[in-house]
Symmetry: C2
Amino acid sequence: MPTTSNRGMQIGASPIRSLLPYARQAKNDGVHIYHLNIGQPDIETPLAARRYLAADDEPIIGYGPSEGLPELRTAIADYYQKFDGGLTSEDVLVTTGASEAILFTMMSCLDHGSQVIIPEPFYANYIGFSAMSGVDIVPITSTIDTQFTLPTIEEFEQIITDKTKAIFLCNPGNPTGQLYDKAQLQALSDLVKKYDLFLIVDEVYKEFVYDGEFTSVLSLPQIEDHVIVIDSISKVFSACGARVGCLITKNAAVKSSVLKYAQLRLCPPFHGQKLALACYAGTDHYIQSAIQTYQKRREILFNALSEIEGVTCYKPKAAFYNIAALPVDDAEDFCRWLLTDFRVNKSTLMLAPANGFYFNKSLGKSEVRIAYILNKEDLTIAIDILSKALIAYKEK
Amino acid sequence: MPTTSNRGMQIGASPIRSLLPYARQAKNDGVHIYHLNIGQPDIETPLAARRYLAADDEPIIGYGPSEGLPELRTAIADYYQKFDGGLTSEDVLVTTGASEAILFTMMSCLDHGSQVIIPEPFYANYIGFSAMSGVDIVPITSTIDTQFTLPTIEEFEQIITDKTKAIFLCNPGNPTGQLYDKAQLQALSDLVKKYDLFLIVDEVYKEFVYDGEFTSVLSLPQIEDHVIVIDSISKVFSACGARVGCLITKNAAVKSSVLKYAQLRLCPPFHGQKLALACYAGTDHYIQSAIQTYQKRREILFNALSEIEGVTCYKPKAAFYNIAALPVDDAEDFCRWLLTDFRVNKSTLMLAPANGFYFNKSLGKSEVRIAYILNKEDLTIAIDILSKALIAYKEK
């Protein structure tokens, strides 16, 4: 039998999804699971957009442009005006989810053995996309004690080598809910200019900000050629399955390189793009309502977590995630045990062990990521289950 | 300004799309272009499937399973019964178009510097996906003089080295319209067993067979662990924009590796999968009608090409492509000139220079690929334009 590739064997399985078999078994046993483990919003996709798509009967679902539908590129450029993006449609390339935008960015900007600096903990799939493109991640650690504040510019500067090609941020942060402010981004902007690096920012959660103000790196002066922004409709419009994201840059060489990768896969999905177009057409009210919903849940979650003995937590400024340090040695074992053994009224909950979001595998062992994507009643019940579970787990 | 990656600079632009700026200019000048250059069918996507999708109002367009919707995996496994696939849903992983299935296959089965043998001319994007995954293509040449018959087993065997990990076929062939028969595939099957190689077959055009019978490599005995099949709904159901394909294998290690890449990109597009599900639900009549349509066009194209002086052509057995050798030294120049200079009644035509489908860049210089994806009236006019153009080009 021929053997599979070494890289295929080495690439890690998704940390969030590794608990899935246990969750499936629990469901088969009739247990209700409160899912706090995944960034799948429970808010409905905009009804107007779904209706628009249903009414749009194109007789041939044909290839579109590799760059994405022109009207969608324009809509995204226009949308970014509220963040002072200063974009034209030519600066926007539509991708099959933010996932593809990350892969295209790695492929286009970095070579095998190039280094990219990423503050950890970070979205775990960055590791897989780096592996796929042979890029080396150099993590720079932030910790729960400082609420995952961005490390200092000096700390970044210390780890820059001649192989460093980029600094990669997620702002607002998944899994931390941290928000980087304008001064911090400006300082990073000076740094990338000094060392001639790319500044890649995943801004997928930019709408969901509760304390402070979001600054897009696209609005910073005089670093146009350094900046690549990754965005998506998945979270803002609760349309994760549509698979529509985008890669934004004003750097002509990057555009040209990315386009070649885009042509290889022919085009982004037709229906998702049509849905996206309708989402961008008029959804201020929808977004405001979503922000209010998440903000209320943030309070509920923070208050409930604060009352559990031994739990270290903080109030996240943005996104819909929160990391909590639990009074357990091995959060992954605890999360598995929740699925296999612990029940309250035939229910349990599923959390994401935070260790998977750290590059350094000795970190975050007692931490979990909690996504507040349940309605407030369910969220309250879920945290009550967590509270009871911690006591039972300790006594075990 | 930071420089883009070397690999990004080296990766070739799409050969089919390189003429697009000239086509765009011609259109802006009011010229009608008969497109014979691209594999975009002009047949409508099944109406029943479009209606099914429009009626399916899911309130949250959420992430689906990374492997694809379970019911779609089952539908694809069932569909392959007519080709004696012998599949279960577990053997099918849904991808974002055949494009992604090709990339996942390369990533999962081959390492950097591994070699894959591919009969040329072949679908040009195989080059890009190989480059993306650092795999070396070793072409084995077939020629128009033999109607692109598969090279002999001895010729394959001669170029196998210790770096060879796979043989990759497109059957039926894009761009050749060639069909490999059961005996040829059986002989290749013996070869891959002898050298412990993967046998990867792109079967995207399998429904469109006019002479002879299609054999899926999935039906061959005792090579289950060697075989990976790539398929798509794009051509069969005229749904290129839906971006739904699949990767089929019974090899457990390949499945496990591919799943990790699939989890990285989260899931295939929701709407395309729903459309695909409805396509597979009941479309025998649709497919039969499409086959008849292409078969008639094949006759028209072959008869018309045969009458043009200096053109070498053949009657393709399958798919909807044909390569023709034209009496010109540089078909790419000729194709460009058609777009920039030549008009008949304010119309011209667009062809794909076949050189882009050869790995060896000295081959196919006078050849073009013609896709018969126009109705018979338009096809007749288009070939008449070709005939007149060849005379004018010669006199130029």
